[in-house]
Symmetry: C2
DNA sequence: AATCACGATACTTATGATGTTACATGATTC
DNA sequence: GAATCATGTAACATCATAAGTATCGTGATT
């Protein structure tokens, strides 16, 4: 989805679900499903009818990678975690406390890192890469 | 599994797969499947026949939570990550670099934290909790 | 010899993510 | 205003993975 957003930023005029789906090697309906989150968050806008499609609707400076991640679906960052958490067992409580403590710290770091990068910054990094490539070609 | 290991540490004599399964609300075969990793890593030992079962086979000081995690199966820590990683698309490469950078740092922190805690420490923490509880009762 | 417990395999659910089809609705074009 | 285009939504199919289950073999104890 980040991929799509950056492409949209470099593309004037809306992009259709079908075009995006081709780009991602997937299906227009799947695209609409996942883009719905971004639309509800106000990051993109969708227009129906002729010449319709998806377009950026927010200031890219104000949208971080973390924002996109949250809008697109997953508060679930880690593949591990204490699922049952039987509070009857004192051993289990000890274990969970230790694991969750480390997990919380790592998540905080990741959230900070993702929250610190805006889409606009990413776009600038990309433009920089292009400029370097052009230079090499010249 | 951490739960099981600490229980085993406080239990003299081997525990059967069935007893462990009851403890975890699961199935003996599932227990054997996941314990196989711990056995291959040398953290536990399994004995067949009458009076057999599972027992600790290593110094708990030398086994970290990270060791257990790795032995038990998952090198997969994060629920997110760049899966297709189409190297043809320059936009995608930019995005992946940014995300994976943050991901790598968070994973490093988590690995460091989990690697710093040994099962023995955890057992001591647990004993401490028990002592406190006894004190309150007295 | 009987019993107990693990080891291993194969098979069956259960779950979630993804893909697919179909139809309704709104917007544009002619 | 009819045709067309594109999204919105619902319902269903498919796929992959994890978990549960059944069964048999093997070694160890009694």
């Amino acid at each position: 989805m980040l991929h799509v957003l950056l492409h949209m930023a470099r593309h004037d005029g809306p992009m259709t679900s079908e075009a995006i789906a081709r780009m991602l090697g997937t299906n227009p309906v799947v695209v609409r499903r996942t883009m719905a989150g971004l639309r509800d968050a106000g990051y993109v806008r969708s227009e129906k009818g002729h010449g319709g499609g998806w377009a950026i609707a927010a200031d890219l400076e104000a949208v971080s990678l973390l924002d996109v991640h949250r809008a697109v679906g997953g508060p679930r960052i880690f593949a591990i975690g204490s699922e049952h958490s039987n509070p009857d067992c004192a051993v289990e409580k000890t274990v969970n406390a230790a694991v969750e403590d480390a997990l919380r710290d790592a998540e905080a770091l990741l959230v900070a890192r993702l929250g610190a990068v805006s889409l606009a910054e990413l776009a600038r990094v990309f433009e920089g890469h292009c400029a370097q490539a052009d230079e090499r070609r010249a």
